[in-house]
Protein backbone atom coordinates (compact mmCIF):
# COMPACT_ATOMS: atom_id res chain seq x y z
CA UNK A 1 0.00 0.00 0.00
CA UNK A 2 1.29 3.42 -0.95
CA UNK A 3 2.45 5.71 1.86
CA UNK A 4 1.89 8.95 -0.06
CA UNK A 5 -1.27 10.00 -1.86
CA UNK A 6 -2.98 13.01 -3.36
CA UNK A 7 -6.63 13.54 -2.53
CA UNK A 8 -9.20 15.51 -4.49
CA UNK A 9 -11.68 15.26 -1.62
CA UNK A 10 -11.40 16.22 2.06
CA UNK A 11 -8.77 14.05 3.75
CA UNK A 12 -10.26 11.34 5.95
CA UNK A 13 -7.72 11.10 8.74
CA UNK A 14 -9.16 8.14 10.63
CA UNK A 15 -8.11 5.34 8.23
CA UNK A 16 -4.66 6.95 7.88
CA UNK A 17 -4.27 7.11 11.63
CA UNK A 18 -5.41 3.50 11.89
CA UNK A 19 -2.57 2.40 9.59
CA UNK A 20 -0.07 3.73 12.14
CA UNK A 21 -1.41 1.65 15.03
CA UNK A 22 0.69 -1.42 15.77
CA UNK A 23 1.29 -3.44 18.91
CA UNK A 24 4.98 -2.49 18.86
CA UNK A 25 4.36 1.25 18.34
CA UNK A 26 4.48 3.34 21.51
CA UNK A 27 4.59 6.78 19.92
CA UNK A 28 2.75 8.55 17.14
CA UNK A 29 3.30 12.06 15.82
CA UNK A 30 1.16 13.77 13.27
CA UNK A 31 1.28 17.06 11.45
CA UNK A 32 -1.62 18.90 9.85
CA UNK A 33 -1.37 21.86 7.52
CA UNK A 34 -4.54 23.96 7.59
CA UNK A 35 -5.62 26.75 5.24
CA UNK A 36 -4.88 29.90 7.24
CA UNK A 37 -6.85 33.12 6.97
CA UNK A 38 -3.73 35.14 6.17
CA UNK A 39 -0.37 34.77 4.44
CA UNK A 40 2.47 37.29 4.52
CA UNK A 41 0.10 39.72 6.19
CA UNK A 42 -2.57 39.47 3.45
CA UNK A 43 -6.06 38.24 4.32
CA UNK A 44 -6.68 35.00 2.41
CA UNK A 45 -10.12 33.95 1.17
CA UNK A 46 -9.33 30.49 -0.13
CA UNK A 47 -6.91 28.54 -2.21
CA UNK A 48 -6.38 25.85 -4.79
CA UNK A 49 -3.65 23.22 -4.96
CA UNK A 50 -2.57 21.85 -8.27
CA UNK A 51 -0.19 18.91 -8.67
CA UNK A 52 1.76 17.18 -11.40
CA UNK A 53 0.09 14.04 -10.17
CA UNK A 54 2.35 11.28 -11.47
CA UNK A 55 5.58 12.96 -10.42
CA UNK A 56 4.09 14.18 -7.13
CA UNK A 57 3.10 10.65 -6.18
CA UNK A 58 6.52 9.29 -7.13
CA UNK A 59 8.36 12.03 -5.23
CA UNK A 60 6.09 11.69 -2.21
CA UNK A 61 6.65 7.94 -2.12
CA UNK A 62 10.41 8.45 -2.41
CA UNK A 63 10.30 10.82 0.59
CA UNK A 64 8.24 8.43 2.72
CA UNK A 65 10.55 5.55 1.77
CA UNK A 66 13.53 7.67 2.77
CA UNK A 67 11.89 8.49 6.11
CA UNK A 68 11.30 4.76 6.74
CA UNK A 69 15.01 4.11 6.06
CA UNK A 70 16.42 7.08 8.04
CA UNK A 71 14.31 6.79 11.19
CA UNK A 72 13.34 3.85 13.39
CA UNK A 73 9.69 3.96 12.33
CA UNK A 74 6.92 1.43 12.48
CA UNK A 75 4.80 3.14 9.81
CA UNK A 76 4.40 6.49 8.07
CA UNK A 77 2.00 8.10 5.66
CA UNK A 78 1.14 11.42 4.10
CA UNK A 79 -1.81 12.71 2.09
CA UNK A 80 -1.90 16.08 0.33
CA UNK A 81 -5.07 17.73 -0.94
CA UNK A 82 -5.45 19.06 -4.45
CA UNK A 83 -8.26 21.21 -5.80
CA UNK A 84 -10.22 24.02 -4.14
CA UNK A 85 -9.88 24.40 -0.36
CA UNK A 86 -11.74 26.64 2.04
CA UNK A 87 -10.33 28.44 5.05
CA UNK A 88 -9.58 26.02 7.87
CA UNK A 89 -9.53 22.95 5.63
CA UNK A 90 -6.88 20.29 6.02
CA UNK A 91 -4.31 20.73 3.23
CA UNK A 92 -1.80 18.07 4.21
CA UNK A 93 -1.60 15.33 6.83
CA UNK A 94 1.55 13.52 7.91
CA UNK A 95 1.53 10.74 10.49
CA UNK A 96 4.24 8.41 11.74
CA UNK A 97 4.51 5.78 14.45
CA UNK A 98 7.54 4.25 16.15
CA UNK A 99 8.58 2.41 19.29
CA UNK A 100 9.93 5.66 20.77
CA UNK A 101 8.94 9.29 20.45
CA UNK A 102 12.16 10.93 19.24
CA UNK A 103 12.00 9.14 15.90
CA UNK A 104 8.39 10.23 15.38
CA UNK A 105 9.20 13.93 15.85
CA UNK A 106 12.27 13.78 13.62
CA UNK A 107 10.49 11.83 10.90
CA UNK A 108 7.33 13.92 10.90
CA UNK A 109 9.33 17.12 10.49
CA UNK A 110 11.55 15.53 7.83
CA UNK A 111 8.57 14.40 5.78
CA UNK A 112 6.70 17.70 5.74
CA UNK A 113 9.91 19.66 5.08
CA UNK A 114 10.79 17.41 2.15
CA UNK A 115 7.26 17.41 0.77
CA UNK A 116 7.21 21.19 0.81
CA UNK A 117 10.59 21.36 -0.90
CA UNK A 118 10.29 18.70 -3.57
CA UNK A 119 6.80 17.46 -4.36
CA UNK A 120 5.39 19.20 -7.45
CA UNK A 121 2.31 20.78 -5.89
CA UNK A 122 1.50 24.46 -6.28
CA UNK A 123 -0.69 26.74 -4.22
CA UNK A 124 -2.87 29.39 -5.81
CA UNK A 125 -4.06 31.88 -3.20
CA UNK A 126 -7.09 34.12 -3.47
CA UNK A 127 -7.04 37.22 -1.29
CA UNK A 128 -9.79 39.22 0.35
CA UNK A 129 -9.04 42.17 -1.97
CA UNK A 130 -9.89 40.07 -5.04
CA UNK A 131 -6.27 39.56 -6.05
CA UNK A 132 -4.88 36.04 -6.54
CA UNK A 133 -1.51 34.47 -7.29
CA UNK A 134 0.49 31.30 -7.65
CA UNK A 135 3.10 30.93 -4.92
CA UNK A 136 6.56 30.10 -6.23
CA UNK A 137 8.82 30.47 -3.19
CA UNK A 138 12.44 31.41 -3.60
CA UNK A 139 12.75 34.92 -5.01
CA UNK A 140 9.51 36.73 -4.32
CA UNK A 141 6.43 35.49 -6.10
CA UNK A 142 7.77 35.72 -9.60
CA UNK A 143 4.75 33.75 -10.71
CA UNK A 144 3.05 37.10 -10.81
CA UNK A 145 -0.47 38.11 -10.07
CA UNK A 146 -3.42 36.63 -11.88
CA UNK A 147 -7.14 36.99 -11.34
Amino acid sequence: MKRFALSEVPIDVEPLHARLRRADAGACSSFEGWVRDHNDGRPVRGLRYEAYAGLAEAEGERILDEAMRRFALVEACCVHRVGELELGELAVWVGVSAAHRAATFDACRFIIDEVKLHVPIWKHERYADGDAQWLHPGAGDAGGTTR
Binding site: L55, V115, W122, W134, H136, A142, G144
Partner: protein
Protein backbone atom coordinates in the same frame (compact mmCIF):
# COMPACT_ATOMS: atom_id res chain seq x y z
CA UNK B 1 13.37 18.58 -35.42
CA UNK B 2 12.18 16.58 -32.42
CA UNK B 3 8.47 16.14 -31.68
CA UNK B 4 7.71 16.46 -27.95
CA UNK B 5 4.81 17.23 -25.65
CA UNK B 6 5.33 19.97 -23.06
CA UNK B 7 3.33 20.25 -19.81
CA UNK B 8 2.80 23.55 -18.01
CA UNK B 9 1.80 24.02 -14.37
CA UNK B 10 0.76 26.88 -12.12
CA UNK B 11 2.02 30.28 -13.32
CA UNK B 12 3.58 28.75 -16.42
CA UNK B 13 0.21 27.35 -17.44
CA UNK B 14 -1.46 30.69 -16.89
CA UNK B 15 1.21 32.44 -18.98
CA UNK B 16 1.13 29.84 -21.76
CA UNK B 17 -2.67 29.77 -21.74
CA UNK B 18 -2.58 25.99 -21.97
CA UNK B 19 -1.72 22.99 -19.78
CA UNK B 20 0.10 21.22 -22.58
CA UNK B 21 1.24 21.62 -26.14
CA UNK B 22 2.83 19.42 -28.77
CA UNK B 23 5.64 20.93 -30.76
CA UNK B 24 8.66 20.26 -32.91
CA UNK B 25 11.88 21.68 -31.55
CA UNK B 26 15.41 22.11 -32.83
CA UNK B 27 16.70 22.74 -29.28
CA UNK B 28 19.81 20.71 -28.42
CA UNK B 29 18.91 20.32 -24.77
CA UNK B 30 16.05 20.94 -22.37
CA UNK B 31 17.46 24.29 -21.24
CA UNK B 32 17.48 25.56 -24.82
CA UNK B 33 13.94 24.26 -25.24
CA UNK B 34 12.82 26.17 -22.15
CA UNK B 35 14.54 29.36 -23.33
CA UNK B 36 12.71 29.03 -26.65
CA UNK B 37 9.34 28.58 -24.89
CA UNK B 38 10.07 31.31 -22.35
CA UNK B 39 10.62 33.76 -25.21
CA UNK B 40 7.43 32.59 -26.95
CA UNK B 41 5.15 32.69 -23.88
CA UNK B 42 6.81 35.41 -21.79
CA UNK B 43 7.44 33.21 -18.76
CA UNK B 44 8.63 35.30 -15.79
CA UNK B 45 10.62 32.45 -14.24
CA UNK B 46 14.17 31.79 -15.51
CA UNK B 47 15.28 28.18 -16.01
CA UNK B 48 17.55 28.57 -12.97
CA UNK B 49 14.47 28.63 -10.73
CA UNK B 50 12.83 25.59 -12.35
CA UNK B 51 13.38 21.87 -12.46
CA UNK B 52 12.66 19.79 -15.52
CA UNK B 53 11.09 16.35 -15.75
CA UNK B 54 10.83 13.91 -18.66
CA UNK B 55 8.17 11.21 -18.78
CA UNK B 56 7.34 11.63 -15.11
CA UNK B 57 10.87 11.63 -13.67
CA UNK B 58 13.22 14.50 -12.91
CA UNK B 59 15.76 15.04 -15.69
CA UNK B 60 18.84 17.18 -16.37
CA UNK B 61 18.75 20.47 -18.18
CA UNK B 62 21.49 19.31 -20.56
CA UNK B 63 19.60 16.17 -21.58
CA UNK B 64 18.53 16.38 -25.24
CA UNK B 65 14.79 16.29 -25.96
CA UNK B 66 13.86 12.71 -26.86
CA UNK B 67 11.35 12.15 -29.68
CA UNK B 68 7.86 11.53 -28.33
CA UNK B 69 8.76 12.38 -24.75
CA UNK B 70 6.61 14.35 -22.33
CA UNK B 71 8.55 17.25 -20.87
CA UNK B 72 7.40 19.16 -17.77
CA UNK B 73 8.86 22.41 -16.53
CA UNK B 74 8.46 22.50 -12.75
CA UNK B 75 8.17 25.96 -11.16
CA UNK B 76 9.17 26.33 -7.48
CA UNK B 77 6.71 24.19 -5.53
CA UNK B 78 4.43 25.46 -2.78
CA UNK B 79 2.59 22.50 -1.32
CA UNK B 80 2.12 21.91 2.38
Amino acid sequence: MTAVTVLYFASLRDAAGTAQESLDTAAGDLRALYDELQARHGFALPASRLRVAVDGAFARWDDPPRPGSEIAFIPPVSGG
